[in-house]
């Protein structure tokens, strides 16, 4: 398995040399949404705290970096960190309110949606940050201002972001942090009885997740050169963020990545063929149907199912038995 991943990584690194510029764009989107999905995965998948308002962190991160760049000329390379920090602060506030007041399940979902919408409406109404029309960033192509002529640079940055988020998730998964998150997700009270400070770990997950998502906001802003409150803080973006890890496998390391590789091309295709004027809603219908489908037929996501299928066939070929039942879970590291 390790070798397959390394090989895939090498391929991805080499790809821009042979891809058309449209394909490069597609991959940038795959990596970017994979990154956002992985960041969400830390709190939504591993910790099991469903947030449907993660767009708020993208918005905070993006707007912060953009405003700092426009008003003070601060390079977005630093602005990204400030944006991430502010997003983490918002995440801490939402987390504190939600976890201290014992909001679980759909109450927590409502909390996150409410915060995201409040941010959206507030930003729409503040002319100093561009109001409903948003902000525009003038294209200078200056790398120190996080702008590049060659879109292949964006490709590598997006890939790096996705790898960073995945590395973070991996580091969390194998240590006490991740194990405790899984326990909290399974049964918070039982975990408490075993010495797990649920509040602390949920907060940590929320802060890490929102920080990373905030970083993504800056990328978004300086890749697309425009920010609108409805796009950057809106529910459609939150849905884009969560659908990939959910379809791919929430709470797994490769789930968000797999989900993005599956869904992003599909979304782009539907946008191409159906997206003539206002029909961009069409791909959201597909998302809705997919969500329903996943819940009904594939609740743990595509990646775990795939892994089991591969294991079963591998076991069968090794032992020569057509149907040997594998261990109910893969071996621990």
């Amino acid at each position: 398995m390790r070798w397959a991943l390394v090989a895939a990584l090498v391929v991805l690194l080499a790809l821009p040399a042979v891809l058309s510029s449209y394909a490069v764009t597609l991959f940038i989107l795959i990596f970017f949404y994979g990154f956002l999905g992985q960041a969400w995965n830390i709190v939504g998948g591993y910790a099991g705290q469903l947030s449907v308002g993660h767009a708020a962190f993208v918005g905070v991160g993006g707007y912060t970096a953009a405003m700092l760049s426009i008003e003070t000329g601060l390079t977005p390379w630093l602005g990204m960190l400030v944006g991430g920090a502010l997003a983490a602060l918002l995440g801490a506030i939402i987390g504190y309110l939600g976890f201290r007041f014992g909001l679980r399940g759909f109450y927590f979902v409502l909390l996150t949606v409410a915060f995201a919408e409040i941010c959206r409406i507030a930003v729409s109404n503040i002319d100093a940050v561009g109001g409903p029309l948003g902000l525009y960033i003038t294209f200078t192509g200056d790398p120190r201002q996080f702008q590049f002529q060659d879109s292949r640079v964006y490709y590598y940055i997006a890939l790096a972001l996705m790898l960073v988020a995945t590395a973070a998730a991996w580091a969390i998964e194998r240590r006490r942090f991740g194990i405790y998150l899984a326990a909290i997700r399974e049964d918070e009270a039982a975990a408490e009885a075993l010495g797990v400070n649920a509040f602390k770990y949920k907060m940590l997950a929320m802060i890490v997740s929102s920080f990373l998502t905030g970083l993504g906001g800056t990328f978004y802003a300086f890749y697309l050169f425009s920010l609108q409150p409805n796009t950057l803080f809106g529910i459609p973006l939150s849905v884009e963020i969560i659908i990939r890890p959910i379809v791919g496998g929430a709470g797994t390391l490769l789930g968000p990545i797999l989900g993005s590789f599956i869904l992003t091309p599909l979304a782009e295709l539907s946008r191409l063929y159906l997206g003539q004027g206002g029909l961009h809603g069409a791909h959201l219908i597909a998302y809705g149907v997919l969500l329903i489908g996943v819940v009904l037929f594939l609740p743990e996501g595509a990646y775990p199912r795939l892994r089991r299928l591969l294991q079963r066939s591998r076991l069968a070929s090794f032992s020569g038995h057509p149907r040997s039942k594998p261990a109910s879970r893969p071996p621990l590291q």
Binding site: G48, L50, V52, L97, F101, G102, L103, R104, G105, F106, Y107, V109, L110, L111, V113, A114, F115, E117, I118, I121, A122, S124, N125, I235, V239, I246, G278, L279, G281, A282, L284, I285, Y287, G288, V289, L290, L291, I292, V294, V295, L296, P299
Partner: protein
């Protein structure tokens, strides 16, 4: 500050509250019986509105008559959603139910977007133009009729739940699934009916409000939030709470509209939701033990 304006606002709010009550009653019924949080509630209501619009525009049927058809159509939708979808995941963790209803909401909202476009619509009704005067305050006849019909429907619903056999069965199943199963109730059918009734409420509410309120597909989210606000204030699962809550919230919104900028109305709604979420006593977090 004009007292007349305030009084006007209060009256408007009260009358509009009938619709909010009906909407909230539907949501609380669904939660009270099946412990399902219907994230698609607002979007279902918007479909009620669009159906009323179709009936009026294509069939020439006034929404004040057509609401019956809308209610029936939404009943079917609710029944199918419960029977076909929610029923399949009764044993799954609650997050699954949330995601499921989120998916339904996405489908409904964007189907409406694709079918009807993003522009606001309103339904023409001959009653919409008429007004009555009560001293210095005028009463929108449309709103009055809406209020009366909505309240009548809510009363009819409570009669249904408390006086008919099927209604009693639904309440029994809500209180105690296993008990209901033991005495041979087809619980799945009861649940489907309950969801259907809840959806019918919102279908009727949508039709009734379509001449008064301009609507577009994204309205669904705002309506869902308002429904959650009302139901959480009034107590999840409490019909009376939903009814009273609907009137109160509508009054508050109306007064707010008198004093505040319209774009801030939504902001207030969401802020209110957060405050309610934080300060509702933990006892409302009533998940049915498995």
């Amino acid at each position: 500050m004009d007292l007349t304006l305030v009084l006007q606002g209060l009256l408007s709010g009260l009358l509009f509250g009938g619709v909010y009550s009906l909407m909230a009653v539907g949501l609380t019924l669904i939660f009270g019986v099946m412990r399902v949080v219907n994230f698609a509630h607002g979007d279902m209501m918007v479909w009620g509105m669009y159906l009323a619009y179709l009936l009026a525009a294509r069939g020439g049927i006034d929404p004040y008559l057509g609401f019956v058809a809308c209610a029936a159509a939404l009943f079917a939708l609710g029944f199918l959603v419960q029977r076909g979808l929610v029923d399949q995941i009764v044993d799954s963790p609650h997050e699954m139910q949330i995601l499921l209803m989120l998916g339904v909401a996405l489908v409904l909202e964007n189907l409406a977007l694709v079918a009807f476009g993003p522009e606001p619509t309103r339904v023409r009704s001959p009653l919409a133009a008429a007004t009555l005067w009560l001293g210095p305050i005028f009463v929108d006849v449309a709103r009055l009729v809406t209020f009366v019909v909505a309240v009548a429907l809510t009363l009819a619903l409570s009669l249904f739940l408390y006086r008919t056999d099927l209604g009693r069965t639904i309440r029994a199943a809500a209180d105690n699934t296993y008990g209901a199963l033991v005495i041979g109730t087809d619980v799945r059918r009861v649940y489907a009916v309950a969801f259907g009734v809840g959806a019918a409420c919102v279908g009727a509410a949508g039709a009734l409000v379509s001449p008064i309120l301009p609507f577009q597909p994204p309205t669904g989210l705002a309506l869902s939030v308002t429904s959650f606000n009302i139901v959480i204030i009034g107590g999840m699962g409490s019909l009376l709470g939903a009814f009273v809550g609907g009137l109160l919230v509508s009054l508050a919104e109306s007064l707010g509209a008198v004093f505040l900028k319209p774009s801030l109305k939504e902001l207030l709604s969401f802020s209110l939701l957060i405050v309610i979420l934080l300060f509702r006593p933990a006892g409302l977090f009533g998940r049915r033990p498995s």
